[in-house]
Amino acid sequence: MHGSHATGSPYAPHTDAERSRMLEAVGVETEADLFDIPTAVQFDGKFGIDARSERETRRLVRSILGRNSDLTELLGRGHYGYYVPSLVDHLADRSEFLTSYTQYQPEVSQGFLQALFEYQSLLVELTGLEIANCSMYDAATALGEAATLAERVRDTSGHRVLVPDLLREGRRSTLENYVAGTDLEIEEYPTDDGNVDLAALEEQVNEKSVMVYAENPTVRGTIEESLTAIGDLAAAHDALFVLGSDPVALSVLQRPADVGADVVVGDASVLGLPTSYGMGLGLFATSEDYLRQVPGRLVGVSEDATDRRAYTLTLQTREQHIRRERATSNICTNQAWVALRTAMHAASLGPNGMVDLAERGVTRASDLAARLDALVGVKAPVHDRHHIREFVAHVDQPAAAIAEDLEKRGFAVHVVGEHLIQVCVAGVTDERIDSFVAAFEEVAR
């Protein structure tokens, strides 16, 4: 090992002798001579951060994260903890995938481009729409991008963007920020027993509406029953119909293209990532009508000089590095590696596995709701709807107290109202669900 590393970056390979020769070649005494920084703005203090060995650093992080409680998370509402197969970790962690940059030199990046192309194809199959980009940051920012797309492609005189009243705060607020620089205005429409209140929406949609947003499943896990009518309504008023969903739900629920969706957004990392404190993968798919207006990166097919099929980033004139202030989005770095993981996880499941995972989400949520409903002091599900993965339950006791008691017993649930909790089965084993029901019985009475 190089002794000179003791006080420097462990990842700078220079030996003292090499460093001297390099300084000599450049014609300076020391690195400091290379900095052209006026004295007044030089920093001669310290950050006060101690260097550590790799082992010590690992211990530090382990010790900090060790303060997170061990809980079985019956949590969802847009972020899910499905089991991710080892195949995904091991192959996505191959350093060629992990340590490469955006594919600006496609001739040496065919593998990643193909994986992203396969990811796009997965989304095309799931949504029935012709175009999917190779990622936005997350569901919330994808929704924001959908709104700015709506503004660009709709010629209507108004600026109304209609969203459900139950929309998650993080998504709603992100959307508000994305439209802050436009004339768009966000308006809520009511939901009825978890789903879109179609009659109320009909009253609200008019020629001033540029976009109608709905989610399937909804944030409460209910399955929407009037998507076709919503699509017709949006189309009749020349508004863009934007649908929020995810790859697992899309495996069995109505195909967005069949219900008139113009754009599908959502979190695709439902597959590919474990719960990651909200880190996600923005799904963005749309009709080929909007090809030139799509935000984000697109991988397309071409040929190389030997006439073999080859992949490349394409239609880059939409993007910020070419189009600057007239770009379709400011996105540059995106979630490519997460998209790779999602594609791998989906491939690992295959169509049978994906359909099975989604259908089990329906039956397991329904089974758990029935078991909770049988307990004293609980009514579940609250909404008289079909559910996938999760549902809302009414508890006679204050919901916050129930959640706290459950946490003491090792379970995390959502509190969504004074007497409402929300429970999700995604990624939770049958054994843990049995224990959860037993714990629930103790705390709910």
Partner: protein
């Protein structure tokens, strides 16, 4: 840096280096698509699943009524060993930082320490964002400590970790500026000034924020033209977005004057952190008069680029802007009875709200924290020192002209009469990744080069040999390149003219 060094050591001959990238060819194509290996259609609903292979039930009973489901789903159904080979072959057709030098200017492609992957994969890092704060003390503590680290490194008073990428950080900066001006009754400010040579994201972000973009030319020396700045600044100015060192690698020597001019008209000064790797421990944006900045942790703090992301773009601000930062942030709470620190989330008083559904790219932030904790003061400042040394040494070995100096962590050479894009393609054949090309436009046929601190002298010599070999080659050779990569030169025009963006779009055309 036009003088050639007379370094006694013999520089490696580029001709001795030949790079042949792995390639798998089947039926005249590179690795077939998953869809060409299998496509299985699964029927959903009462008709059942005709291809069910016995993993429970006969597949005929969908738990949902037909009108709520799709008809079918058609995707590849492959076994784990088949997939392992597929993705391994794909990986072999990718050049990463572990394959060789990757001197993309402005991208800071430095080595990604392996142990950071391990800490991000700790089971305790896999947490749901809706858990109670009391059950997430580890996550909150790590975020708090990273906020603190970044504040110290940038000289900023408050930091948000929510932005999931650099451009998202810029967007926070612009939204914070808008909220600040509006709070002060100055929402007439509708212009953001951006230097001609800035990153494309600066322009696009300002536009996304609803601002008119005022483009600022450089002076003859490649820096901000103070007269042009004076002319651009007005009561309409919301902010000036600046990278320092700039894209030419030059430090904006007049930064104090620039800050004063911007502040005099009531504007804010924004620091684009793309080039922060030049300054660690030697200068801090906060000390230069910047009010708001973003950090690219996937550049400066060595988290992997992952083929285009995920990154993270935390934003630091001065005290006056802290009330406008995104919600929520992390702060210390009351100590426990046993004296242990606790952490809690809070919404800044005049917050702009969310710019991400949750708290950004958590797993990336864990890696960045680990990197900073590993290097400490000495490691961070050494990283910048070596990054600047490497850029200067590499430049000293090049035949290409480098019109602007003194540069720091990166330089922009000119390919002269050669086409910079062709130079890049030819460099691939010498086993190195080429620099960023054709940008910034202020240098004709630009080769924007940033070797970072992780390359040894030997690697830099090999990189220089590749540059120099290409410099001596004729246009014909360059136009025919690359010849040793998986794919040969790819036709960009036909890809854009006839967009085929999924396997559905090529389905029947290729396999008869």
């Amino acid at each position: 840096m036009s003088e050639r060094s007379d370094d006694a050591s013999a520089a490696p001959r580029a001709e001795g280096v030949r790079y042949d990238q792995a390639r798998y060819v089947e039926n005249g194509q590179y690795e077939p698509l998953l869809s060409e290996k299998d496509l299985t259609r699964v029927e959903i609903g009462a008709e059942g699943d005709e291809t069910d292979d016995g993993d429970g039930g006969d597949g005929s009973d969908s738990p949902l009524p037909d009108h709520l489901t799709r008809d079918s789903l058609e995707l590849p159904e492959l076994s784990e060993p088949e997939l392992a080979r597929h993705y391994t072959r794909l990986s072999q057709m990718i050049y990463g930082i572990d394959s060789g030098p990757y001197p993309l200017g402005s991208c800071t492609m430095k080595y990604n320490p392996k142990f950071t992957e391990d800490v991000a994969a700790l089971p305790k890092a896999a947490v749901h964002p809706d858990r109670s704060e009391r059950s997430l003390q580890g996550t909150l503590e790590l975020l708090y400590r990273l906020q603190d680290y970044l504040g110290r490194i940038g000289g900023m008073d408050a930091v948000t970790l929510q932005p999931p990428a650099g451009a998202a950080g810029e967007f926070v900066g612009i939204r914070v500026a808008a909220a600040y001006h509006e709070h002060n009754g100055e929402d007439h400010r509708d212009e953001v000034i951006v230097p001609e040579s800035a990153h494309g994201t600066n322009f696009a972000t300002a536009a996304l924020g609803g601002y008119d973009v005022v483009s600022l030319p450089s002076d003859d020396e490649g820096r901000v033209d103070l007269e042009a700045l004076e002319a651009a600044l007005s009561e309409q100015t919301a902010a000036l977005m600046l990278t320092n060192p700039n894209t030419l690698g030059l430090f904006e020597r007049d930064i104090e004057r620039i800050a004063e001019m911007v502040h005099d008209v009531g504007g804010l000064l924004y620091y684009d952190g793309a080039n922060l790797n030049a300054l660690l421990g030697r200068a801090r944006p906060g000390d230069m008069g910047f009010d708001v900045m973003h950090y690219n942790v996937h550049k400066t703090f060595a988290t992997p680029h992952g083929g285009g992301g995920p990154g993270a773009g935390p934003v630091g601000v001065v005290d006056e802007l802290a009330p406008f930062l995104p919600a929520p942030r992390v702060r210390e709470g009351d100590k426990t009875k046993s004296g242990e620190s606790t952490y809690e989330l809070f919404d800044p008083e005049h917050t702009i709200g969310h710019v991400h559904g949750y708290q950004g790219n958590w797993l990336v932030l864990v890696k960045a924290f680990a990197y900073i904790a590993r290097l400490g003061d000495a490691g961070l400042s050494d990283a910048s020192a070596k990054a600047v040394l490497n850029a200067n040494y590499l430049a000293s070995q090049l035949e290409y002209d480098i019109p602007y100096e003194p540069f720091h962590h990166e330089f922009v050479a000119s390919a002269g009469d050669q086409d910079a894009a062709d130079v890049a393609k030819r460099m691939l054949d010498y086993g190195v990744h080429p620099p960023t090309t054709k940008w910034p436009e202020i240098v004709s046929e630009a080769l924007m080069t940033e070797p970072t601190e992780v390359e040894s002298k030997g690697t830099l010599d090999r990189l220089a040999a590749a540059f120099n070999a290409v410099a001596a080659e004729d246009d014909e050779t360059l136009e025919a390149a690359p010849g040793r990569t998986t794919a040969r030169r790819i036709d960009q025009t036909s890809a854009a003219r006839n967009p085929r963006l999924s396997w559905h779009a090529i389905g029947n055309t290729d396999d008869e």
